[in-house]
Symmetry: C2
Subunit: 326 residues, 2 copies
């Protein structure tokens, strides 16, 4: 019997989860839930239904886990606690500063209902967090460095798109090679924001727009760009379509620590992703399996990737894992 | 209250665990247990006792977890089940083919006694296994490649030392750069044993020994060297001491998989270790913490690193982990 999955939200991430489910025989997509008119949506899974988000409210939808693929800014803080009261749920909430509050809200709702609510699942937060915690626990005397990219930051791309005269933008976050090398050498350097990453913007401007002003507005934008060395390239719509239509990403968590005086170790976990939303969707699908299993065993409440043993996300049983992968 | 640790066996690995305990305020080394005459052993922890292995038999030693640092070939299959009946235990059993049998034996003894027995903990098996399982679970349509080195293989060094006329040897396992690059590119190549690693031997021969014969015996040794391109370098004892006295190691687990047609991802976990036994000892110390905690919560039986959530090996609590490392 496959684990029955519902997906809430059918943007890039929802589609990524759908793709991941197709790769897992023990997972079955039952329905996509949307705020749009269901009949307006065409999905890639013939056997699944498209339904309204309102259908979820009954708590009677035939799903084992609801994967909530909405935005962190305003939707997830509402939706995840709300639906954790009705179903096992999982999200990819990534507003770092608000994780403790989100965890509490989901924990309360999920515990009351006897459901599992996994929050902040993806690659950062997610796989990168797991690696930070393993490394830090094994070598407490050390330091973790996280580098992102080369990859498209959707938040930064959106920020540029809001500038007057900008039609489209793709922003790439790029780690500085010298910083990567310094960290990999085990030197434990102190690095400023500017020393770790650069930012590259590919911008399609509206006809007649003041390019100089746009470039200046980008480069001086606080939080997003002012603390970085930023390059702005104006390109045509055709070039945007031809060269910047995918959402690659990746990065590294590099941990450098010592086990005794003069004896150092470097641990590196790195991702090179053709598609950020498909990889994030793949992580969500695997941990949706864990949500179902932990709940079957009687567990409830909010969980993060740090609370879940690796074996819980694998379709293989303990014997198979020990025999072939230990 | 610190978690009270006993170490059984005071070779390189036991010393590595001792070094790791010094880096963790919540762990305390209570005693080293040895087969040698206790008074002949001088350890690096003033506050810990040196006792005979026989003292463990009572089951009354004042320890929360016994870290068993003996060899996988003959000692661990006896010792880990035996002491799992008396204490929470952890070992680094690494004879791959015998893991299922070892797991069963430890599981039976530990369950009967209400103890936890963690087996096969270190970096391979251990951290590498964890990474294989995470990657495989997130991207089931893919392939895992494990590379070891550059680093000293103690098993291969020992095998050469057994050859007549060999006084000392240090064998380095070295991944083939072209193979690493092919795997990192996402090409999913099929690689033979010879294509993945080369072996370099640094040999001190006895005076007057037949070097040509020694080199031939090494290069044709079945299992150990015959399937590899092996280089043999004869060096002096002084050179051995000066350049080959440490035990560095490391390697990579590289996983390459797709989430949909044409969309691929590469996940790499790599270690660069100044000291293999100190890093393995650090992993054992962190998971000893998990053994204690899981047992406190009422769990018993054999576990592997795959059964243990990351949060269990960290001294930080859930709030701290979510706030700072998620």
């Amino acid at each position: 019997m496959a684990i029955k999955i519902g997906i809430l939200g059918y943007g890039n991430l929802g589609k990524g989860v759908e793709a991941a489910i197709k790769k897992n025989d023990d997972l079955e997509l039952v329905a996509v839930y949307t705020r749009r008119a269901p009949e307006s949506l065409s999905i890639a899974t013939d056997t699944a239904a498209v339904k309204s988000i309102a259908d979820l409210e009954s708590g009677n939808e035939p799903i084992d886990v609801l994967v909530i693929c909405s935005g962190s800014a305003t939707d997830l803080p509402q939706q995840t606690p709300k639906f954790a009261a009705l179903y096992n749920v999982i999200d990819s909430f990534d507003t770092h500063a608000n994780i403790p509050a989100h965890f509490s809200a989901v924990d309360e709702a999920a515990k009351k209902a006897g459901n599992i609510g996994i929050i902040s699942c993806g690659w950062d937060p997610g796989m990168f967090s797991i690696n930070r915690v393993y490394s830090l626990s094994v070598l407490p005397d050390g330091e973790a460095y996280t580098f992102w990219g080369r990859g498209v930051s959707q938040g930064h791309s959106d920020a540029v798109r809001r500038i007057e005269g900008v039609k489209d933008c793709r922003q790439y976050t790029v780690p500085v090679p010298a910083a990567l090398e310094a960290v990999r050498s085990g030197a434990n350097p102190t690095l400023t924001t500017r020393q770790k990453h650069t930012r590259e913007c590919f911008v399609v401007a509206e006809e007649g727009a003041d390019l100089e002003r746009i470039e200046k507005e980008i480069k001086t934008m606080p939080n997003y760009f002012a603390d970085y060395d930023t390059t702005v390239n104006f390109i045509s719509e055709e070039e945007m379509k031809a060269n910047h239509s995918t959402l690659p990403h990746g990065g590294s968590v590099i941990y450098s620590g010592t086990s005794s005086e003069g004896t150092g170790h470097v641990i590196e976990y790195s991702l090179k992703l053709d598609s950020n939303p498909e990889f994030t969707g793949s992580v969500l699908a695997a941990f949706a399996r864990a949500a179902y299993r932990m709940n079957k065993e009687g567990a409830s409440g909010a969980k993060t990737v740090l609370d879940i043993a690796p074996a819980y996300i694998s379709p293989l049983n303990g014997d198979e894992l020990r025999k072939h992968y230990l």
